[in-house]
């Protein structure tokens, strides 16, 4: 016990040291703002309604939870109001009917909302965004209809009246503290491994899975965390209100929270709070205008929210926080693009004489009557670059997908180090050292180049779970710093050190493909499956890729290269396998294959290898 206390104390002291070293003027300003906000109940004039502000904090808390799902997970959930309702009515029923104290009732409410999140999330996280929106919208309606139909649960038109609890001022301070904590945790998650992986999975799920990201698990985690935070916010807000009112948890609440996230800006964890504040300001202004016409603003609240959403979308979906940051120039500093650094490595060829790492044994894949891969076998040994070439539709990419576990073969098997991989999914294969890059999607465009590599490094994280990352434990921080340093070093190795903090989407196409290769390398593969990495590249770019692949081979990596650039193939490949119509028609050294009459007829034509 003493040791635990000492360890915790040490960790806290270390965290404090880290915080001090990273402290900037901006942090001082933010801390001062929070401190000033905490004083509001004591110093605010009478026209400031502390209870409304406290309720705003709880709404912002729920919206921050939703941000995890929408911004990080890329799931447009319209169901956060339902989780607030679950939290609210759990607290109301336990305190008003069962006489429970507020604290345990609130904890049960969080658990109930999380359980609801698990049930709903298990079904929705694998859906496409539009279906996620529809499904969660139906969930919101289902909860609303349930509450309105079962008046014994919801208390009917008069609601469920809660026993009096903590004061409005205490709610205010609690709401503020929880909101600050939620924003910090959300920001920490977004910056850490789980957040980066979620953002990657949001953009190109297949590429993320190929790099070993447990896409469904991460998304479910975000959904459940979001639901739990919604339940907490609902449970506390209902205590502040003093009455649980089913009509408050209709579809408009979910819509409003969703709008708040988009209005504030999905790029920042502060966005939802800014969005709630923005909605409150607009509603207040509408109230003043409405009073001039004798119309209650509540009559057109939903319309205002919808108009704000349209405005945000029409302006590019940026939102308040990113807009403010741009205006104050925080994002203005751009790195200087440097001339590509071609890494020069002696292209020593070491033909495979060792036992194979990867074996494809008679792999067959059919799509209806089409045989995309017809009993194809191949082997890869350490330090070998094997090129897979052939005309379009010959089955090259199908083979890569079979090897990476994207497709289940109709026949044959894949072995790594002699062990049959069976139906192991891409993540599991990546963990065993078989990593693939995609043909069409180069890199995760919304992530920086560095973050792209951190996605690949996810498999190396031992202390990078969501909880440790959210609370920035010493081990998680230490590991994250180490991985970031490794990622920078790897980026420098491929000549993109200057682009570490540049969004990959802003890089040129060949640079993006290089980032994708580097991300795959970051996963620490023994077998690298590359799908047309030189597509659209200039001669310089191809030379750079050539040098990189040659160096990897020297380092002992096995590479299966699907490629149309025959110059690159001839330069880098130890062995070439030629496919046509799903079958292997030739195999051998580049020179052997170049002289093969069948290959010339089926693929090369006038081209020379």
């Amino acid at each position: 016990m003493t040791a635990l206390v000492e360890r915790t104390g040490g960790a806290l002291a270390e965290a404090a040291r880290d915080a001090r070293s990273a402290w900037t003027r901006r942090h001082t300003a933010a801390a001062a703002l929070v401190a000033l906000a905490a004083l509001v109940p004591a110093i605010a004039p009478s026209w400031v309604h502390v209870d409304s502000v406290a309720n705003g904090f709880y709404l912002a808390l729920a919206a921050t939870g939703l941000w995890l799902t929408v911004a990080l997970g890329g799931m447009p959930s319209l169901g956060q109001g339902a989780f607030m309702a679950i939290g609210a009515f759990t607290v109301a029923l336990l305190t008003a009917r069962a006489g429970w104290p507020a604290l345990p009732a609130t904890l049960v409410a969080v658990a109930a909302a999380a359980a609801g999140g698990v049930l709903a999330g298990a079904g929705v996280v694998r859906l496409r965004p539009v279906f996620i929106a529809v499904t969660t919208w139906i969930l919101t309606w289902a909860v609303t209809i349930f509450l309105l139909a079962f008046r014994s649960v919801s208390g009917g038109a008069q609601g469920l009246v809660l026993p009096s609890g903590i004061s409005v001022t205490t709610h205010y301070e609690l709401g503020l503290a929880l909101l600050v904590a939620a924003v910090l945790v959300a920001a920490s998650l977004a910056r850490g491994g789980p957040g980066i992986e979620l953002r990657a999975a949001r953009q190109v799920p297949a590429a993320a899975a190929a790099l070993g990201v447990p896409t469904a698990r991460r998304r479910l985690g975000a959904f459940v965390a979001s639901a739990a935070i919604g339940g907490l916010a609902g449970g506390l807000a209902v205590q502040l209100a003093g009455v649980a009112d089913a009509s408050e948890y209709g579809a408009y609440l979910s819509f409003k929270l969703f709008v708040a996230v988009l209005l504030g800006g999905v790029a920042s964890a502060l966005g939802p709070s800014a969005g709630i504040a923005g909605l409150a300001l607009v509603t207040g202004a509408a109230g003043v205008l409405g009073s001039l016409e004798g119309v209650e603003s509540a009559r057109f609240d939903p319309m205002l929210a919808a108009l704000l959403l349209l405005a945000v979308l029409a302006l590019g979906g940026e939102g308040i926080v990113p807009l403010v940051r741009r205006l104050v120039g925080r994002d203005a500093e751009r790195p200087v693009r440097r001339a590509p650094t071609v890494v020069s490595v002696p292209a020593e060829r070491r033909p495979g004489t060792k036992p194979p790492i990867l074996v494809a044994d008679s792999l067959t894949k059919r799509f209806g009557s089409l045989v995309a891969a017809d009993s194809v076998s191949l082997e890869l040994v350490a330090g070998e670059v094997c090129a897979l070439i052939g005309p379009n539709g010959s089955g090259k990419t199908t083979m890569l997908r079979l090897l990476a576990g994207v497709y289940r073969p109709d026949g044959g098997r894949v072995l790594v180090d002699g062990a049959d991989l069976g139906d192991a999914p891409p993540r599991e294969r990546a963990a065993r050292g078989v990593v693939r890059t995609l043909q069409t999607s180069a890199a995760f465009g919304d992530l920086t180049a560095l973050e792209n590599l951190l996605v690949g490094m996810g498999l190396r994280r031992e202390h990078g779970g969501a909880f440790r990352t959210a609370f920035a434990t010493p081990l998680a921080r230490e590991e994250d710093e180490r991985l970031r340093a490794d990622a920078r070093s790897l980026l420098a190795d491929v000549g993109l050190g200057w682009a570490a903090d540049v969004r990959a989407g802003e890089l040129a196409g060949p640079e993006q493909r290089l980032v994708a290769v580097a991300a795959a390398l970051a996963a620490g593969p023994r077998v690298l499956l590359l799908d047309e990495p030189s597509a659209g590249s200039s001669l310089d770019d191809v030379s750079r890729l050539d040098a990189l692949l040659s160096r990897l081979r020297v380092q002992g990596m096995s590479i299966l290269l699907v490629e149309h650039n025959l110059r690159l193939v001839r330069s880098v490949a130890d062995r070439v396998i030629v496919m046509a119509a799903g079958a292997v028609i030739a195999t051998g050294t580049p020179a052997d294959v170049a002289g093969d009459a069948d290959v010339r007829a089926a693929y090369l034509g006038r081209a020379a290898l």
Binding site: L39, G155, G159, A241, G242, D245, S247
Partner: protein
């Protein structure tokens, strides 16, 4: 730094000013009503209170604490108990001496008001349990009670030997009314052919009305929103089923007549129970009130015409209740002052808009007794008291055309 300190000091001083009930000789009366969700109800309640306040302010209110005028402040509860509770708290912090309420959120808000010694006057919702002398000493009501309406309906229909289909919709109003009807008819189950709950949102209630017919009903009694009553009438009459139809005060709502404007003959004969607009002293008091109301706010057009082409108007009968509550409150303030107004309300009366003495006592916080419920029957888009009820037959018909 100095500037910041000065600003904080100013803000702190400004924060010390709230919560005083007396504000420059003005007493605040809060009207908590669903202005955004049921504008007609909200406006009716607020206008009644504002009309009374404008009359009181001519001479002011001499109280033991000084002379005051009344300021009426509106708070929109949007039919939400959460907003209603928030409004009640806000009204108290704004220094309200009383709250005029449609009834929304009284379950949640009476306690906060009671702790601040602020009475709540319900002027619309007749739901059971809202007024409770023992548990809610600060809650009063001037509006027909559901219980009173249900018992009067039972008293009126049972002697006719009818077999009634008791129909209520699934709104709170309908559900509460259904419970009151159950209680009222519990001693005469033989008068009830069937009980049905119908969805307020359905566009066609023909299946439910057919079920009532097959159950052997010889009359329909509908407790629900005006649109529900209209749908029941349409379903029965379009099927050629010309049974008597009885309804509740919501039948007065212009919506019913608007929805039946194309077939006014289907509305003819529909009988409903509501609070009476006139007392034993005749209709002059109500006409005087109606005249003042129209001078202040204009006539309330129903939006339909009689067969003769006259525009039909709605008498401001529900505005009468909030008007009366403010007048009773004024008497209590005059005699007992702000601090004792909750108990003071039990000991005063005032002349109501219909000429009745309005007031409460230690044994009753409901200002409209069961005898104040009468029956009216529609004919040619207007309604008149029925002749086959002892109370109703004595009442004059209020003019409803212009």
């Amino acid at each position: 730094m100095k500037r910041t300190a000065l600003l904080l000091a100013v803000l702190a001083l400004a924060g010390c000013g709230g919560g005083d009930k007396k504000s420059a000789g003005k007493l605040v009366i809060a009207v908590d009503a669903p202005f955004s969700r049921s504008q007609y109800i909200g406006q009716t309640i607020a206008r009644g209170a504002e009309l009374a306040a404008s009359e009181v302010n001519v001479g002011g209110i001499p109280t033991p604490d000084g002379n005051y005028t009344i300021e009426v402040k509106r708070y929109d509860n949007a039919l939400s108990p959460r907003k209603a509770l928030s409004n009640i708290r806000r009204a108290i912090s704004d220094g309200a001496v009383a709250i005029v309420d449609d009834g929304t959120g009284v379950d949640a808000g009476w306690q906060a008001a009671n702790e601040a010694h602020v009475p709540i006057g319900i002027t619309y919702d007749g739901g059971g349990g809202l007024v409770d002398l023992e548990k809610r000493p600060n809650v009063y009501r001037i509006a027909p009670t559901n219980r009173g309406i249900a018992f009067r309906l039972a008293e009126y229909t049972i002697p006719k030997g009818l077999k009634l289909a008791l129909i209520h919709d699934d709104t709170t109003y309908g559900q509460q009314g259904g419970a009151s009807l159950d209680e009222a008819f519990s001693r005469n189950p033989g008068s009830v052919a069937t009980k049905l709950t119908v969805p307020a949102g359905d566009s066609d209630l023909s299946p439910q009305v057919l079920r009532a017919r097959r159950a052997g009903a010889t009359a329909l009694l509908v407790w629900g929103q005006a649109s529900t009553i209209a749908k029941v009438v349409i379903a029965a009459r379009s099927a050629g089923w010309n049974v008597p139809i009885y309804a509740t005060p919501s039948a007065e709502d212009p919506v019913l007549r608007q929805q039946l404007a194309d077939r006014p003959q289907w509305l003819d004969g529909l009988t409903f129970a509501t609070g009476r607009m006139t007392a034993e002293l005749g209709p002059d008091f109500f006409y005087a009130f109606e005249s003042k109301f129209e001078n202040a706010y204009g006539v309330q057009n129903v939006g339909v015409r009689t067969r003769g082409g006259d525009a039909v108007i709605a008498p401001p009968d529900y505005a009468m209740y909030s008007y009366d509550f403010v007048n009773v409150l004024t008497q209590a303030l005059k005699q007992f002052g702000v601090k004792d107004v909750v108990k003071g309300l039990e000991q005063v009366t005032a002349r109501g808009a219909n000429g009745d003495e309005r007031g409460f006592n230690q044994h009753n916080h409901d200002g409209v007794v069961d005898d104040d419920v009468f029956f009216a029957r529609f004919h040619d888009m207007t309604y008149a008291p029925v002749a086959d009820d002892p109370l109703s037959s004595t009442l004059p018909t209020i003019k409803q055309t212009r």
